[in-house]
């Protein structure tokens, strides 16, 4: 029911490319549409289209060009502005398609059909958000700032990315269980909410007009993360042996640091504000995000305490939680560490001002890299600590701790696997390369 929105379809060739992409990366898409009315009665049918908000302001709201008319075409911006915005749009597109690939790996393990369909709706809407970004890339000519790369080539590049080759780290980590589907929605989609909210002011009007419809859909994504976590907390408190707070804590520990890094280095963000693309700098936005996650965790803990002590009135439950947070002690056999905790901003970071700081969940400081890695191994799930990502992180941390590398060097040398060759899984071969810091590439694996 959104009458102030214009739906736009990509040219057929590109629309078909997205349809083709979801057949490989979102195999239950048709199942979702078939049962849409069962799980989402009365809701509008899903539309694979770009949605442009109508009636938004025509005037730049922030930055160096505040008060001037918003830009409608890339060539109305300076070259530097247009290049910067193009990178934002491509990164945004990458995250949307990337999250679908991550969800797809474990969505079938959802404990209930309702959970699965909630996640699939999230996936479908991420597909639409990716489609929206492709619309921004294709509806105007970016060739003057894309280094000669055509719209078609940009779409090809984005649709050929897979987990491991996306722009942001959070989208290059595999899910280890359905817990990741849920905690990712609660933690990483929350970053998405912040980014979309900040970009509502964007000086490039088509980008600004894209944000409100995406934000409205993002509200459901956050609920699809938080509400299952609340229900799991209740089950855990009631002694369900298959659902534990530890399981959720480990997933929060995995995702929150990557979420913090999605805002960019805490020392940056001026360019976005000066150009009028976002209305907050990185540190301000990431601090607000961290505080919001703290509130989410507290809400879930309250749910846990009410289930664990059903005779407690709301005020009593809040008082118990306050006391446990203050004392980090125990109450009637319930320890502070039995509850969810919000990891310290510096915990398990590899980018930004806290990169490779050895700080624990509760702010405890480590001085020995091996001890810190053992601590991480105890506080992350088994599937993740056995991953390539952890292996690479550990190597980088050791090199920083031993003085072989500076933090800045280690950040740059965290390798990023990049998949090249072949536009989709229909292709016969996939070549994986590791980029070094100079951008040269060395092939490390070939799979057929």
């Amino acid at each position: 029911m959104a009458l102030k929105v214009e739906n736009v379809e990509l040219p057929k060739k590109y629309h078909d490319a997205v349809e083709h992409w979801h057949r490989h990366n979102f195999k239950d898409y048709e199942l979702l549409l078939k049962y849409w009315d069962k799980y989402f009665p009365k809701d509008d049918q899903f539309c694979l289209c770009a949605k442009m908000e109508l009636g938004t302001t025509d005037v730049i709201q922030i930055g160096d060009f505040k008060g001037q008319p918003k830009k409608l075409k890339p060539n109305e911006m300076t070259e530097e502005q247009a290049k910067h915005l193009l990178a934002i749009i491509k990164a945004q597109a990458s995250t949307e398609f990337g999250s679908i690939q991550q969800h797809a790996g474990t969505v079938d393990r959802a404990p209930e059909d309702e959970d699965k369909f909630w996640t699939m709706r999230v996936m479908a809407e991420e597909l639409r958000h990716g489609y929206q970004m492709l619309h921004l890339l294709l509806s105007e000519d970016w060739s003057s700032v894309s280094g000669g790369v055509t719209g078609e080539q940009m779409v090809e590049e984005i649709l050929s990315m897979t987990t491991g080759s996306h722009v942001l780290d959070a989208f290059n980590l595999d899910y280890d269980s359905y817990t990741d589907n849920v905690v990712f929605a609660a933690c990483i989609d929350r970053v998405g909410k912040y980014q979309l909210t900040m970009q509502k002011v964007c000086a490039y009007k088509p980008m600004a007009d894209s944000m409100p419809p995406m934000l409205r859909e993002e509200a459901f994504h956050l609920a699809a993360g938080v509400i299952p976590m609340r229900r799991w907390a209740q089950k855990a408190a009631q002694g369900d042996v298959f659902v534990t707070m530890k399981m959720m804590q480990h997933a929060v520990n995995k995702w929150l640091p990557r979420g913090m890094e999605m805002f960019g280095d805490e020392r940056g963000g001026d360019t976005n504000v000066n150009f009028g693309f976002k209305d907050m700098k990185n540190d301000e936005a990431s601090s607000m995000y961290h505080e919001e996650v703290r509130k989410m965790i507290r809400d879930i803990n309250t749910r846990f305490i009410r289930a664990r002590f059903p005779d407690y009135a709301p005020d009593k439950a809040e008082a118990v939680l306050d006391e446990l947070e203050r004392s980090r002690g125990t109450h009637q056999g319930l320890a502070w560490t039995d509850l969810l905790r919000t990891p310290d901003k510096r915990f398990f970071r590899r980018k930004g001002v806290h990169a490779f700081a050895m700080v624990g969940i509760d702010g405890e400081v480590f001085t020995d890299a091996e001890e810190y890695l053992r601590y991480l191994a105890l506080n992350l799930n088994d599937g993740y600590i056995a991953s390539r990502d952890m292996k690479l992180y550990a190597a980088a941390l050791r090199s920083v701790a031993s003085g072989q590398k500076t933090v800045a060097e280690a950040m740059k040398e965290m390798p990023r696997l990049k998949r090249v060759g072949g536009s989709c899984p229909c292709s016969k071969g996939v070549r994986w390369v590791m980029e070094d810091k100079d951008g040269d590439q060395t092939t490390v694996a070939v799979r057929n």
């Binding site: 809701d43 509400i227 809400d299």
Partner: protein, 149 residues
């Protein structure tokens, strides 16, 4: 005249308002029922995000109003705003919060193209019926009917 509190913020509902809503409901009814409110909040955040409103004071939710804009039901083809549930913390009544949330939800409905807002009320619930009358609700040609089964 109700006391209008400046430090109260009216804003769109989000998923982190659940504990506040559950708490208000529990204060009013004496029943703790988080499951029900999780279902309702999920329904409204997916159905019509931005429509439902909460009143926040000192960082706590002290009032809520849940609703959505619909068309095509009961022969009503034009979009209408529907208000389903609302509640105000008993400690924060008399501050005009209900009217402020109502104004905010109506602004959303208008932006969605609605020209009327509807609700159902138990006429024997005098405080609720009185509040609805005070904010301008009147008799409608549509009537709620029921029969026992």
């Amino acid at each position: 005249m109700p006391e209008v509190t400046a430090d109260v913020r009216i804003r769109a509902l989000d998923e982190l308002d659940l504990n506040g809503i559950v708490r208000i409901d529990e204060k009013i009814t004496g029943i703790y029922r988080p499951d029900i409110w999780e279902q309702r909040v999920m329904f409204y955040t997916r159905r019509d995000p931005g429509a439902s409103q909460v009143a926040e004071s000192g960082g706590k939710v002290v009032g809520f109003m849940l609703g959505d804009c619909r068309a095509g039901e009961f022969g009503l083809e034009e979009p209408s705003g529907w208000i389903e549930r609302f509640g105000i913390d008993p400690d924060h009544r008399g501050k005009d919060l209900g009217r402020r949330m109502f104004d905010a939800i109506c602004a959303h409905f208008k932006a969605e193209g609605a020209t009327s807002v509807r609700t159902l009320v138990d006429r024997t619930d005098e405080p609720v019926a009185g509040f609805l009358k005070a904010i301008g609700f009147g008799e409608s040609p549509l009537a709620a009917l029921e029969r026992k089964l």
